[in-house]
Symmetry: C2
Subunit: 537 residues, 2 copies
Amino acid sequence: MRIALCQINPTVGDVDGNAAKIAAWIGRARDTGAELAIFPELCIPGYPAEDLYLKPHFLAANVRAVERLAADLAPGITVMVGYAEPAAGGGDHRHAHNSLAVLADGEVQAVYRKNRLPNYSVFDEQRYFIPGDEGGSIDVDGAGVGLTICEDTWAPGPPGQAEADAGAQLIANPSGSPYHRGKGREREEMFGERAREYGTYLAFVNLVGGQDELVFDGQSLLFGPDGSLLARAAQFEEELLIAEVPPAAGAAAPLADPLPDLDEVYGALVLCLRDYVEKNRFGHVGLGISGGIDSALVAMLAVDALGPERVTLVVMPSPHSSDETQADARQIAHNLGTGLIEIEIEPMMDGYAAALEGVLDGLAAENIQARIRGNLMMALSNRHGWLVLTTGNKSEMSVGYATLYGDMAGGFAVIKDVPKTLVYELVERRNARAGRDLVPVAVIERPPSAELRPDQLDSDSLPDYDLLDRILEAYVEQDAGREEMVATGLPGDVVDEVIRLVDRAEYKRRQAAPGIRITPRAFGRDRRLPITNRFGG
Amino acid sequence: MRIALCQINPTVGDVDGNAAKIAAWIGRARDTGAELAIFPELCIPGYPAEDLYLKPHFLAANVRAVERLAADLAPGITVMVGYAEPAAGGGDHRHAHNSLAVLADGEVQAVYRKNRLPNYSVFDEQRYFIPGDEGGSIDVDGAGVGLTICEDTWAPGPPGQAEADAGAQLIANPSGSPYHRGKGREREEMFGERAREYGTYLAFVNLVGGQDELVFDGQSLLFGPDGSLLARAAQFEEELLIAEVPPAAGAAAPLADPLPDLDEVYGALVLCLRDYVEKNRFGHVGLGISGGIDSALVAMLAVDALGPERVTLVVMPSPHSSDETQADARQIAHNLGTGLIEIEIEPMMDGYAAALEGVLDGLAAENIQARIRGNLMMALSNRHGWLVLTTGNKSEMSVGYATLYGDMAGGFAVIKDVPKTLVYELVERRNARAGRDLVPVAVIERPPSAELRPDQLDSDSLPDYDLLDRILEAYVEQDAGREEMVATGLPGDVVDEVIRLVDRAEYKRRQAAPGIRITPRAFGRDRRLPITNRFGG
């Protein structure tokens, strides 16, 4: 049997557009002689479409799209598409199953309903879907194909095992499995084990593309009954992967190399940024650039995502900005080929100082500076229709080392899940790949500073970033408590201070722009803590 | 049997503080001769504590608190307290049950685990808890008492029915049931029906207090086996309600009158605002006041929540502000007895105009004005440690008629779930209760305007608020689609425009401050829509 793993990038809510894309890809798959085309989980409505799945008229639109696809299907090919299947039986807030429609011969031949609905981490599927309680198999050209969806195969047992026991030779696993750093290796180990347990071929067909805070990395996979990897699709790109099951003699299926670790993270950031811009129909992005490492990385990412002609960097020096950092900022714009705007903020600082005399003596002017810059970026956005990118990293977002409505002002927080230590690694790696210093070495080597007062350094207010990032990984990503952290050798006084800062900053994060998840636990839908919270740890 | 319905206001995360409060209330209940004291759902850890329930060291702390309460318990009284019970069995992301510990004679005598875990609307309990699968009963002074938690009794059948069938005479229902307008009536109908079905007494013991966006209204209830209401605790206040089961001859239990509709909404807003301020340990709040109706309402609410000495109103006129509105703003501060600060924003407007000449010709200065005001409020907050209250209503938040980082700048959005038409009603009602015009009639009668340009009126940009609010209720609260709305007589062109505006404003709402939920569907955790969303409806 020749199968097509159709790793596509749909858009949430664009039911008709997604169906049109799927129809085109069915044609391409058919042209290769494929007898089975497998599309990802929920590819008709898009995933995750969140509370759209609760709207009856949205469900109706996605059913119509499936029915039209079935009616228009040319003979000779069987197609699996994911959709939200309206569920009978009222009284419940949920009206749908997370389902797979099997299309052939002009009709919907079978429907499979996802059994295991993840409701942890970034997933809320039990909010939307009623679980199915049985497996499903179809016959394709005499071979049994078992049906599962994503989470269904992430642990041993039914439905996959039951379908294999009943004679399926291939288990299909259309998925919407979001990326985090290193997720590809986790999946390969898990799926290899599962294929061995089942004793069948196993095809994992993943979404690719960005959706708000999530990026789907593709990297669809085909395994043999012995658990060996037979095919791997590319990361962060659409791909029509064609393979024979069982493999034809002498004809190996495509086996894309996984990207090196840093390039993988970089690729995830580029794809998710590009998709946020394109799917929300922005023409252009702007960001404030300070001559520091964070805005340098975001500028690089934006240029790689969109091209330099769609990116404008804005330098907004104050009397506290050094000549060196301003020069570096200009150099980055020059190296990347972007537009550059310069606006001195001193006149506005003077305006505030004059107006506040007597009302706010001794006003700490640091936040005012950051907010003037935020206002300017938003004014440019309002005038030109730009998406403003914010440049705060995860270390800063964790401890609240950022000004709400100041440097946090913008529509998309590109590196909010990238710890500061990783920011450096990504810039150095990108410079190395370019073969030249796109970002000047001085930017990498200069001690970090917010430049909001004379001679200010991040290290005046925060622990060294190496130590900070280790504590943050334990506290934020692994839910370690104070005693656990101290037991691993982390200094108690710094741990206490970091816990205090992270907890206090919850209110700021709640008003932060969405940004790209690249770690196993990002802020946002992945870590939901109350603002009002007296636990402290 | 004499029972105590202990309607308390715990604080999320404050495990020791909550336990201390519970210990004190047990003493009070015992002093009245009560043999059974029932506390609300999850009152030890607080509810909803969100991802705190995933932290093993948080669970351990809450177990220690339960064990200490049990060990310290004086004889002669049985106590039910809600806690998060660590669950054996690894491999799952969830580590807990939503449980009830029954304490007597110095130990934990029984544990009941909630069977039905709501995972819709504002609830995510399947993210945190493993459901129990059986009922539980205890004996108190020879009478059988069946154990349930909140949702367990919201539909017929087990566990409540099974416990009743097994001989329980009273079903206890400790709850954390959040308020929305009219929820009290819904509960009374539902519980009356349930008591009749069970053929038992039924005691609903609710939390009271604010927790971020949710307000718990208390209003605990006791029903007889015929479904008749025997006792009702107050709304929005702690109360120790003592009742005899069955009722003693000639001694009626307390039956607090429910508040009239508008007073109920007002009471919910006051309590939730007060708790946000107090539980987060703010001493003082500030808000910008324009002379318009929205900031007038928020000022009233703040004074009723905190007293006038803890509230400062800030008037920030621009050249577009009329003398009338500024005079009204001053009059409101005078009538309410709050502090008042005045800052002219023209010098800062000039600063921006000078700096942006040549960069941003023809800049629409409206957003700049709003953002200057936002900056000033935040500067005052930074300087004095104030919580800044925002004053946008639900109608504006729905259609995005607000400036991000401008009038949306602040820590708590008091009336973000109050439609504009209800804003007027609440102000008029509060004036009537005061017996004088706390808010001048001119503020109520003047056509709404943002005053960001000469002669601007809301009605230049938006449909009439009566019509807008009807469309918003259908679209936002009831998930009605375009065709459904038009079929009810709403004008198609306005419906289309409102849908477009609501969908487009999702990105703004994502960065809005949290605010108080008073309708059946608020923005926030209650309505989770993607920003990237091409559905359009």
